[in-house]
Amino acid sequence: MNKASLECRHISLAYGATPVLRDVNLKIEPGEFFALLGPSGSGKSTLLRLIAGFNRHQSGELLVDGQDISTVPPHLRNVGMVFQNYALWPHMTVWDNVAFGLVERRESRDAIRRKVGAALELVGLAQYAERRPAQLSGGQQQRVALARTIVIEPKLLLLDEPLSNLDKQLRVQMREELKNLQRKLGLTTVFVTHDQEEAMTTADRMAVLDKGVLQQVGSAAGLYDYPENRFVAGFVGTANLLEGEVTALSGETLTFHAQGLGPLTLPRPSEPPAVGKAALAFRPHQVSICVRDEQGDASRVWIDGQVESAEFLGEFSRYRVRVGEVALVTDQPHYAGLGLFPPGAQVRLGIEPTQLRFLDR
């Protein structure tokens, strides 16, 4: 099986005066399952289409196995792409759809029969070969599109929002299937999604994009635990963000002036931030909540506040708590019999200091 590496070097692209990708640098290892994650308009689909050859970057290099393919037209790239809406041709049967690329490659009739059969077998659609795409369900169409792409043994497999057209249950199932298939084939795979859960559960590594700029690359846990900037902290998972300024660093502590909240004295982390403007980020589930007069764990940083709203979500309850002029969100695991704090309740929030992240970008 092909296992190609992919590298983007200083890739920039603009539509007229509007920049869509700005100096993107990215290296994807052979056999990796890689996600491009970002909100709509972040440039992730543009980057994927650029790899397939449907968009041309104005500067930079696009390397597959170390060779620049920037000038190779799409039909010669041998980079397989599965489209968001599958783009199955309605005038051909499932079999003809899958055979299309092999026919274009002038493969022998025997080879085509063997490969198409194997590809349909692989996606579990061997008995649907004579059907038309319109006679298949969404999940089956998705599989045909996959079979059609992998049958040409591409160097790379590109998936454009592969699960967005499926309903929720099917999405989880297809996610598993995609992962298994990718493991089995070992194809270097790049997929685009705006759904962080999808990216986190499927990909080995992912890149977060915003406004055409690559924000951070890493594993799911890496991005979640150590976001490098405000955007990543907010986009990968939910985060409380306190804007402010680091004013003083001493041996054991540092002082952070949070806007609308006042000075907080926090334990000094092993890699302390520089003095100056920064944001303090922490996850809602890392904040504990208790009634005002209860004596909390002394290792935590405690702040007094008032419950603004409470949402019951099953596995946990989510509170918005007003603290000074800002609102913090906290998630509390739920057990049967555990009551909710009503809105208006006077409470204390305890933040776990080891989980605090200082973001200066």
């Binding site: 397939a52 449907f54 041998n78 309605p90 005038h91 274009e104 490659r105």
Partner: protein, 566 residues
């Protein structure tokens, strides 16, 4: 199907009355006349069923020849119209270049001129002693006999009807999702193979719809072969039999049945091939086919082809214009002397004809949109049983040549008198107007259906919940919202009726009843009448052109306001 599930048929007698009236109209003015024609072709003098007339027909050489000529000319016209239209459609959809507007213009130009008028004009440009051949003969010593006989008919019909293929094909190609093409590129196809394996098959339904229409139109056309002096085709034979031998001659009816049969066959074949192939592949948020710029020599080819087609397409317009201003024009490249007197003649003589055209066409187009709106309402907004049949019945008019309908009217209404008068019905213009209305009803109906489909049923429900009755809901909410589509239907009816000839030729019983199309035909019969005929032709083209332009503008505008308010 929420929309149709609402308001069951128990909402009063109104819909039933409308249903009954429309059904009666269609039966009396479409089904029974056509049925009479078919019946007459199959009975002998004693009233017994027979296929003898058909045997008689095929035993005569002239009829066999006419039959094969009509078939050949129709198929050849479809072929040449495709040769012109397919590259133009592909250029429009595929490439970013300034010619797109030119091509759109090309798509309408031929349609606004009646084909038989075009035939006369083309005779002057491409005929044996027309401008082009005179120039060729001068320069190279040879001529191209492209306007002679069947070749000439094919030439004129291809030029006139290629827009049907162009417009349908462009619409179909615009609907192809760009991802369809990209995925083919991604799998290694490009260029000609990409077109042949993916793009053209996906646009096939549009192509077939256009091609079937061209076939039917050419097969049924009477004016063009008559004007060009070609009588060994089916439509002229039927016309000549009925007008020279008489209304009781069975062979005219045999020809009519064959014409209906082939029209139905062509439309049925197209529908059958397209069945289950509704490739409206564009999805929400999808992009259309990617456009790219033409390379230098591709541009030369593209503009060359467009220029050539434009020149040929404009030739009839140019020819008719020159002829209308020319004092003498024969055996010369351009007219020898110019004059305005032809226009003076038609202002003096032909005012009545213009008035007649306006009267008949306004009435028939009005009738069409009223019936069209009513049928659309019954089908989309009520649950009357068998309401779909109104659509089917009205649509059969597509397959009925004007000539055949006219023969049916003459036969069926022979001896019927206008109520309260002594005037026979066949001697009045009422039948002309009704023939126009029935033949254009399918187009008007499609417009009205499309317009009503775009009006969300909740808008009408809102009116009803605020206390509006069914009728005032229709009047105050539904019809105003459909206005754009209704107008489009009205104008299509109007302009195609304004240039129709085949039914008119048979049904106009006196010259005072003649509309413009008939007038042009009459003028064109004599050499001295060609000038005024051309002037009248120019007038018709201008009227039709303006009508098309303004209705287009209006429809576009009402479409954007609907979008904005939605």
């Amino acid at each position: 199907m929420q929309a149709t599930a609402l308001r069951p048929g128990n909402a009063g007698p109104g819909p039933w009355i409308a249903f009954g009236l429309i059904l009666a109209f269609l039966l009396v003015f479409l089904i029974v006349p056509v049925g009479t024609v078919i019946y007459t072709a199959f009975v002998n003098e004693t009233g017994a069923l027979t296929t003898g007339h058909f045997a008689n027909f095929f035993s005569q050489g002239v009829f066999r020849e006419s039959f094969f000529n009509s078939l050949t000319v129709s198929l050849a016209s479809v072929f040449f119209a495709s040769v012109i239209a397919v590259p133009l459609a592909y250029l429009t959809v595929r490439f970013e270049f300034r010619g797109a507007l030119l091509i759109q213009t090309l798509g309408v130009l031929p349609l606004i001129m009646p084909p038989f008028v075009g035939a006369v004009a083309l005779q002057l440009i491409f005929g044996r002693s027309g401008s082009v051949n005179l120039l060729l003969d001068d320069a190279f010593g040879f001529t191209i006999p492209i306007m002679d006989g069947l070749v000439g008919v094919t030439f004129v019909e291809s030029i006139h009807y290629f827009p049907f293929i162009l417009l349908n094909l462009v619409a179909a190609m615009r609907n192809i999702d760009g991802a369809m093409e990209e995925s083919a590129l991604n799998l290694g196809a490009r260029g000609w193979r990409l077109f042949r394996r993916v793009i053209f098959p996906l646009a096939m339904p549009g192509y077939l719809a256009g091609a079937a229409l061209v076939f039917v139109k050419v097969f049924d056309d009477l004016g063009t072969p008559l004007v060009m002096g070609v009588t060994n085709m089916l439509a002229p034979q039927a016309y000549l039999r009925i007008t020279s031998v008489g209304i009781d001659d069975p062979l005219g009816y045999v020809v009519s049945v064959i014409m209906i049969g082939f029209s139905i066959l062509a439309l049925w074949l197209a529908a059958r091939v397209m069945k289950g192939k509704d490739y409206a592949t564009m999805q929400k948020g999808g992009n259309s086919l990617q456009k790219r710029r033409l390379s230098a020599w591709e541009s030369v080819l593209a503009y060359g082809w467009i220029g050539f087609v434009l020149l040929v397409t404009l030739a009839p317009h140019l020819g008719i214009l020159l002829m209308s201003f020319s004092k003498v024009w024969s055996f010369s490249v351009l007219p020898d002397a110019y004059t305005l007197e032809h226009y003076a003649t038609i202002v003096h003589d032909a005012g009545g004809m213009v008035g007649n055209t306006l009267l008949y066409c306004l009435l028939s187009a009005g009738l069409d949109v009223v019936i069209g709106t009513a049928i659309a309402y019954l089908i989309l907004r009520t649950r009357l049983p068998a309401r779909q049949w109104l659509d089917y019945l009205a649509s059969t008019a597509l397959a009925i040549p004007g000539l055949v309908l006219a023969i049916g009217y003459l036969r069926l209404f022979k001896g019927v008198q206008l109520p309260f008068t002594e005037t026979p019905l066949v001697a009045t213009w009422v039948l002309i107007m009704l023939a126009y209305a029935v033949r254009r009803l399918p187009y008007a109906l499609r417009s009205c259906m499309a317009a009503l489909q775009q009006v969300h049923v909740s808008l009408e429900e809102a009116a009803q919940s605020l206390g509006a009755s069914r009728l005032s809901t229709i009047r105050r909410v539904m019809v105003p919202l459909m206005a754009g589509g209704i107008l489009a239907g009205f104008v299509t009816s109007f302009i195609t009726a304004a240039v129709e000839l085949s039914a008119t030729l048979l049904l106009a019983s006196t010259e005072s009843q003649a509309p413009m199309s008939y007038g042009i035909y009459l003028y064109m019969q004599s050499i001295s009448g060609r000038g005024p005929g051309a002037a009248l032709g120019v007038l018709a083209v201008v009227v039709v052109g303006l009508g098309t332009y303004f209705s287009h503008r209006f429809v576009e505008r009402s479409r954007t306001t609907l979008k904005e308010s939605a």
